[in-house]
């Protein structure tokens, strides 16, 4: 897969190494932490951010494609946005609307963005609110489509067409995503457009051939994304969707490997990804890769429901540290537990 960029393994590795330090305090490294039976941090992303280049938005600064203004522009009251992060949308919306009335310039745009975004979730959901949000996004885009508020407004407008409007219009969203990818390189939020494009395009196909052709066409985005988050989501969606739709297995596996290398921040997403890579590699007779990812899985997720099966797989594949894996006989043939009480 020539179009897939080289994975950037530094962040995830650092993340796992540091995890033991930060979350386990005196535990010297991650393997020791795991040996103690500690699960992988769900806040691994926090460590990612602490690592060099781990600041998701600071990373974009180095990309050079987005104006510095876009990255440091005032984006309304952070407190209001914080309300929205914990689903207090109504309050956030009211505050944004009030703040927008008394602000100007960039601050006004930032508040309008907040007002528009939160309108999408004001309860009850009404067509009127969706239309008002749409009008706000269009107003922000016509003001300046390339500053941070403009880029965010374009993403929200696309999402509005894709998931909020009735009826949904993914093709309209697609057009916006394409434009956003051209203008928003280096902006983590804007670069998520690539992963959205993957879903729209791959799910629009109706045959094995058209699916693989669409995947080839999309591959170019993988080389152009500047943020880790943008690349990770793009690779994940490519790999998992190709796999779901029974596309090219090798291509799917390569994308998943690339996504894994970027580091998935949640166990719920990382664990199945590792197993899927290993299972695909096994199918493709790439036993070394299968062993590698099965081993990674057992080292990270000892207490997962799949770990016993995976350890057996590793034993079958002849991995040196496959661990204990006894074949099944009678499921409950072990001596029954002692009577618990009298």
């Amino acid at each position: 897969m020539s179009s897939t960029p080289e994975p950037n393994p530094s962040n995830p590795m650092l993340c796992r190494g540091l995890e033991g330090v930060i979350c386990g305090w005196k535990i010297p490294n991650a393997p020791v932490a795991f040996a103690l039976g500690l699960s992988r941090s769900v806040l691994c992303g926090a460590i990612l951010a602490l690592s060099p280049g781990g600041d998701l938005f600071a990373e974009a600064g180095g990309a050079g494609d987005v104006s510095p203004d876009a990255l440091n522009a005032p984006t309304g009251s952070v407190e209001n946005w914080q309300k929205a992060t914990v689903f207090l949308f109504d309050e956030a919306n009211q505050n944004f609307a009030i703040a927008a009335k008394s602000s100007q310039g960039e601050e006004f745009r930032a508040n309008r963005l907040g007002e528009g975004a939160t309108l999408l979730t004001i309860q009850p959901r009404t067509q009127g609110n969706i239309e008002r949000a749409k009008a706000i996004f269009e107003e922000l885009i016509s003001g300046n489509p390339k500053d941070s508020a403009g880029l965010a407004a374009r993403l929200h407008l696309a999402r509005l067409f894709e998931f909020h409007a009735s009826p949904q219009d993914p093709q309209k969203a697609r057009e916006i995503y394409e434009g956003l990818l051209a203008d928003g390189q280096g902006d983590p939020l804007a670069e998520l457009a690539a992963s959205r494009l993957v879903l729209i395009d791959l799910h629009s196909t109706d045959s094995h051939e058209s699916l693989n052709a669409a995947a080839q066409k999309l591959a170019i985005h993988g080389t152009q994304l500047r943020t880790s988050i943008g690349r990770r989501e793009f690779f994940s969606n490519m790999g998992l969707t190709l796999n779901q739709l029974r596309g090219d297995k090798k291509l799917a596996m390569e994308y998943l490997i690339a996504a894994e290398a970027e580091g998935l921040p949640m166990q719920q997403l990382d664990a199945p990804l590792l197993v899927t890579i290993a299972a695909l590699a096994e199918e493709l007779n790439d036993l070394e890769t299968a062993k590698k990812y099965y081993s990674l899985f057992t080292s990270r997720y000892k207490r997962d429901t799949r770990s016993y099966y995976v350890m057996q797989k590793l034993e079958e594949l002849g991995a040196p540290d496959a661990g204990r894996a006894s074949p099944d006989s009678e499921p409950n043939s072990a001596a029954p537990a002692p009577p618990p009480q009298s």
């Binding site: 689903f87 979730t121 309860q123 009850p124 959901r125 009404t126 067509q127």
Partner: protein, 315 residues
Amino acid sequence: MSLPISPKKALLEWRLYLFIVPSLLAVGLFSYFPAASAIYHSFFRWSGGDVKEFIGLGNFAAILKDHVFWNSFITIGILVVANVFKMIPSIFLAVLIHRLTSDRWQYWYRVLVVLPMIVPGLVTLFIWKFFFDPNFGVLNQVLDATGLKTLLVHIDGIFHWGIFQEGIPIAWLGEPSLIVPSLIIWGFPWIGAVGVLIFLAGLQSIGTEVYEAADLDGVTPFQKFLHIELPLIMTQVRLMFVLMIIGTLQGYGLQFLLLGEEGGPGGKGMVPGLWMFNRAFLAGEFGYACALGLFLFVFILILTMINNKYVRVDK
């Protein structure tokens, strides 16, 4: 009928109106607000949480295509008809008590009728649930002890129902064909304390001269009932009839407790109220459940209006 008073006079002691404010507030808060909220939410796609979406008449349009809801009216229809007959024992008991010549015995019978009202309704339901238990329940034990079970098995053999089998306890609430009969049997001997008291009140308003005239004419006790008592308590019968219809249409506690939220095997015990509950708490379609409730409200209202308009009592 109260005498009309002038508005000026009505407003003279305006402070007195303040006394009804607490009651009005309580009724508004606990009766009208939930009802208004249900009407409001019936126009939304709402799953009970904070997320809701206005869909206009979408829920009502869905009701028209909801075959489970419409089928539930068949069950409720059968239950309403059965409940009409289940009113008869109360009427008879009221007449019997009314005809007691001893005031003291009348009093004690009234007390005996009212006494079961002390037992909470839920306890009665649980007791009946136990009655229906296939293995240790009273109903099956009585059928076994009296030999009625053998008779039922014999009849089953003739008609090939496949319900009653020797050696297998009757699953009253586990066999679809027995669910509606079980719901009808429930409450045997169907004497409702409130019904008896209401009928008794009606009977006691009948003047003794009517009975004396009947006696002079040589009217038999049954004729007295048919031509004097029943016509003269028709107001009460009609009242109970309306209350029964409303109660049967709205109620689902019995079905829920005995059969669960799915309406039991074959969904035979599904009634509109239970379907409303099912949609709200199992499917998470609270908005739709509100629309079902509203539909039911309108349906009951129409039935009551028809009853008031056409089921007249000639005095």
